[in-house]
Symmetry: D2
Subunit: 431 residues, 4 copies
Amino acid sequence: MSSKNLTSNDFEAQCLGENVHPSPMATECFCDSYERLLYHSSLNEIQQRIANNSEPLSFEVAGPRRNIFFDPAKIACGIVTCGGLCPGTNDVIRAIVMSLYHHYGVQNIYGFRYGYEGLVASYGHKPLKLTTELVSRIGESGGTILGSSRGHQDPAEMVSMLSELNIGILFTIGGDGTLRGAAKIAEEIARQGKSISVIGIPKTIDNDISYLQTTFGFETAVSEARRSTYAAHTEALGARNGVGLVKLMGRDSGFIAAYTAMADCQVNYCLIPEAPFTVAGLLADLETRIRQRGHAVIVVAEGAGQELMTASDQVDASGNKKLADIGVFLKEKIMAHFAEIGLEMTLKYIDPSYTIRSQPANPHDTTFCLSLGQNAAHAGMAGRTNMVVGFWNHQFVHVPIKLATSSRKKIDPVGRLWSSVISSTGQPAKL
Amino acid sequence: MSSKNLTSNDFEAQCLGENVHPSPMATECFCDSYERLLYHSSLNEIQQRIANNSEPLSFEVAGPRRNIFFDPAKIACGIVTCGGLCPGTNDVIRAIVMSLYHHYGVQNIYGFRYGYEGLVASYGHKPLKLTTELVSRIGESGGTILGSSRGHQDPAEMVSMLSELNIGILFTIGGDGTLRGAAKIAEEIARQGKSISVIGIPKTIDNDISYLQTTFGFETAVSEARRSTYAAHTEALGARNGVGLVKLMGRDSGFIAAYTAMADCQVNYCLIPEAPFTVAGLLADLETRIRQRGHAVIVVAEGAGQELMTASDQVDASGNKKLADIGVFLKEKIMAHFAEIGLEMTLKYIDPSYTIRSQPANPHDTTFCLSLGQNAAHAGMAGRTNMVVGFWNHQFVHVPIKLATSSRKKIDPVGRLWSSVISSTGQPAKL
Amino acid sequence: MSSKNLTSNDFEAQCLGENVHPSPMATECFCDSYERLLYHSSLNEIQQRIANNSEPLSFEVAGPRRNIFFDPAKIACGIVTCGGLCPGTNDVIRAIVMSLYHHYGVQNIYGFRYGYEGLVASYGHKPLKLTTELVSRIGESGGTILGSSRGHQDPAEMVSMLSELNIGILFTIGGDGTLRGAAKIAEEIARQGKSISVIGIPKTIDNDISYLQTTFGFETAVSEARRSTYAAHTEALGARNGVGLVKLMGRDSGFIAAYTAMADCQVNYCLIPEAPFTVAGLLADLETRIRQRGHAVIVVAEGAGQELMTASDQVDASGNKKLADIGVFLKEKIMAHFAEIGLEMTLKYIDPSYTIRSQPANPHDTTFCLSLGQNAAHAGMAGRTNMVVGFWNHQFVHVPIKLATSSRKKIDPVGRLWSSVISSTGQPAKL
Amino acid sequence: MSSKNLTSNDFEAQCLGENVHPSPMATECFCDSYERLLYHSSLNEIQQRIANNSEPLSFEVAGPRRNIFFDPAKIACGIVTCGGLCPGTNDVIRAIVMSLYHHYGVQNIYGFRYGYEGLVASYGHKPLKLTTELVSRIGESGGTILGSSRGHQDPAEMVSMLSELNIGILFTIGGDGTLRGAAKIAEEIARQGKSISVIGIPKTIDNDISYLQTTFGFETAVSEARRSTYAAHTEALGARNGVGLVKLMGRDSGFIAAYTAMADCQVNYCLIPEAPFTVAGLLADLETRIRQRGHAVIVVAEGAGQELMTASDQVDASGNKKLADIGVFLKEKIMAHFAEIGLEMTLKYIDPSYTIRSQPANPHDTTFCLSLGQNAAHAGMAGRTNMVVGFWNHQFVHVPIKLATSSRKKIDPVGRLWSSVISSTGQPAKL
């Protein structure tokens, strides 16, 4: 996550205009303009910046403003959810609706159905009217009450529907692709000279968005993933020379696999995209372990070891490259190896992805989603646009979409997190 | 489950000899010899028997006897677990050990490792000494602390190890194949004129053993399976024209699929081995539902629709015919159909088997396993052999292995259970 | 549960009249009139009856009839829930509504609010219109969507509201007191010569209704109760001479305490109303155990040991005698005893009742509630009245309210269940 | 949490001496001495410091050092757990043992039993030898395998036992009182000129230790607490004018209550020690809500509203002032008020503390405990002493015990967290 060429400017969210309306929100706890959060938290880094006479990089702190851009009585708002399911999505929807209604008095809130499709008239998905009653208990269910889809739509068509419904703020809940789509909508809005704010709430169960230390749903995902490694370990123990193999989410970043490995001390191998390994290396170490201990548990992120398999050129509707199936690949390689050396063994392969991502949020994520949604509402009402609500060093901040999508957050294979993982699993530093 | 040609004789467990030792058990609650449980519970059936002057069929009731066959001070006992994992196995092991030790004072109890392999000297698996301390909290973990394996071993070799260790009672925890194996051990013992009791505790997560209304682990399995249908439903709702497809256990009998469908009212189709269906029938109804409601959840037992696929001649180590994969088959057929008719849809396929079967027992199953284990100990000490502990009309009974394995328990496709299932799912009676 | 003076007559549910309408239900699986379930399941009992030339006692089997009493197009139906919360209540409501609508086509179904109050006009609770959409997912929540209350209301007033709303069948979900109230409504209906069926679904988390082997919510309650004994055990282990004391439901019958004690093998004492004990006896044994083992877990049913405390004459709105608090009483006695003998110890007291009873049903209870509700609908449509849907030897049956409320189901303190409990806890047979 | 008079010096952990031994740990990921974490994260604060020419306050970053103080082959280590139960305690024990053994090769690790008592010879508690096998799966259970106690012991006696056992590092897991005790041990060690390190791992389920953004077990506690507010809400909905009242932990700081209120959007009132309220204010608002909405859920921290009740002078063994019972107090006040105004209502009171604190850690806390334990081992081996392992802005740091115990962390009643809580509950800012 290099910040070498970043300037203070890259950290500034766009504004639609001056905040001329006093906020109707009943609080004494407004954010002051001088509140900014340091991007760096290392003393050394700060001292170097000072020595170089460069101002420390910092984010604008999120929260309610004393004066706001929109007159809440005059606008409608819209919410759209895109991409794969993620625990907490309904909590975010609920928090946005509750904040818009109770804090600001916005009367018309629309939920667009099935992702960006819902913003294109020709699909014929009628927007859902979101009331506080309707959303009151939606957090108890997984998934998204709005439905979702992958893929982009024409920005002009979407802006046209926003204008027609008198939308002042569009909240987009989605991942990397969705956010890039949101940026295009914001650009089209700017091109047309309209005053519509576009606020993103980053949704990535993989936790791989830069400049965001955590994304919602991640904790819930790790909790649920541990159920699978528990099963894998139980299966491995129950058989002579038993191997449990669990494939977890993680296209480019192995955070779920890494945290699950640390959360379940019975995991013996954790394989992630950021730390390359060879099949021979894995098989040799696994064979040794099986001969010595009689069982093993392996966790592999879906994006790990892609270079070991035949590449595919296919992409899905979101434009993500279709991954080759590392789980099935490893399963076959391992079974072939033990068959070859004549060591009887049993391998059980578990792929729990859909069960993980369809869970309702755990209490941690519920609370986190509450704050995300509220801060998104505040940011929108304050006329910020083309930004996402981020979380950095225990504070909610405004992050420009461009910055958030400029690079993917990954595990540093020579850093402390990965070092903790391999010390927890006991696997060799280099497989 | 026809009982047409059964006689009272078929219901009698074998005995090793006379019960000459007074039981050391501290209870006033011994079983009396006249306690027998009716096999039939229908008034009509009993009246017909009476009219025909034939005695009603009945089981011997399980429980502690005032006098027992073995002198507990003079024997060791052994426990072996075979076949696939099943919730509650450790609870049964625990209950047997606790009862043998606390009720009867048996000092030496061995756990044979990795199924019947552990009874064959040449495998070199040293038996585990089972103490009350060792087993005290094993029920909190899924799986089996003894390990398991599939497949038969030579009865003579196994009896030879039993004799060597001075085993008086061998407890075998396993399914159909395991029980047939146990019967062979009992026959070999009889052939050699030895006094070793063989008591089976039926373990079949599929709940498919005849003359047993419930088997342990089944309730836990259904509970866990409902987590998967919840996920499938959430995924289906979250996509336009979403289909969630869940494959559950059930080689020959669809009990898990059927009860899961009733336990989750969001399941729209339940497919089981006992109720044949056609691919065309399913696709036609599914298409209609998707067009009308926009989502659907399908549960399929692994043994369903085998006749629709190319047969395989392979068998696994237990001698079970290898099943073709109905889950993957249906997934492909459904996706191909919708592609053909040009109706965009999303299918999520979930196969949770290993996660289900590796769960620890829920409280219902823990209690059930406690009674199973205790009654197994009582039956063995009373010199019964070649039998399993069964559960019939809320009572524990003695069931000869031959009777228990004479036919498989299945869902009657024109009976009330299946009728309840299809009224819960709303699927057509005939797909 | 003596059946000495019972005659076949006591087992017959009342009928409103002849079943003249063909059932619109799409099934081939109707119940035939000759289907009756034996009350006794012991061979001995049946043989004695035959020897005495008395017909075996039997229940009418529940299920859909080919011909029904009501014309579904012409009636409305009503549902009322009374008494304390119980897991599964919403599932029963759902199942009744679904069956009335999908099986029979009943269009108007009312939910009366807050128990029998909702049937008395002067309270002003407007009945809730129950649609299949409204009830679709209510089983995911605990409690009752209709609300509840305790206490009786005037039968004449209630019948007057039933008539006004053209109710053909009233479903009452409640315990002993509620069922007696339902019987009074049925009698008032009969007195007025009206054709309104009153069908009870027994709701008692204590599982204490006679002639019903299980009641809904009981399994869920035991599951949740085990969480408290787990906590009590953990607390007890975490302190020098730690004692964990858990008070569970069970006014007159200790089933929840007994099954929880068997489901958690760490429970050392189980105290129930049916098995009297002395404070001195408990303290002496507890002291011995604490000196030897350093920790102990005690489970006590709320109705246990009432004779040890000062009696109260108060009753609650349901007419139940107010119990003295055995939990607090024991806590104080135990702490005083150890203070007196100068043995330092720590006692943690847990009273989880509200948390237990407000849970949603587990999958077992969901399925059970589905069948209860469907069979209640079938019984009502077939013109049965003044009866409850019971469950006996794995079958659903019709039980007259008078029979069901004639005596309370209790644990036999010299029977096999209690014997299993004390063998699991290891407590003395007589404390 | 004012830092006005703090100097850089207050942030420095003590050192036993020079690090002369090369670390045997197999990693490339050692901490460098220049790695320091800023205490302030606000740009403004840093700029002011720079303007004032004062160096920013910063913590030493935790982690393994390339050179260490102790020769691992020559020392034993000890672990002690004190105070009330807290989820994750066993995980911390496990992580320390694993790190000492696998990273450094320490052979003798002792677990002192029942808190500081275990360090005083006269109590006669034999230390438990902690092996990697023994601790392998202890994280699956709640509580502490070492047992715990409250209260102080004589530092000289404890140091005497440490010397006798050749302890090089003592790890103390406990709260405020325990840490002050640890500081006294460290001082006694210094007085005697010994080289024994004392490293604290802050255990406070209330999350109320300053300079630590999170403490282990807190997330698990909030998760479990939400089960109680769910029950309270279900009970409240199930009765006419139902009120659910839940008392949660929080002697001086209301973090658990506050986060639970945000995690369960059905909570209507959250009462904490930091935000005073009047009984009259609460009753008036509650009455209005009950008349309008018919139900309410109240969460109260145990330390809230102490000034409303008669003060007690008693203290517990840890020296904590005994709190008056605000839960029972409010229950009675509320019931009296509604009785007085003649409004029938039902109140259910839930006190789940023991059930909450005896849970095993959730995956988040397991992972967090892993890092805490590892960093404690690293700090001890590097000769740091009289410090705790803290967590600040997503990094593990060294915090002197004196700093950590200098003041309690509390919720700012005019800050953003509390503002989020009252906006989530909808309660008036001032009750």
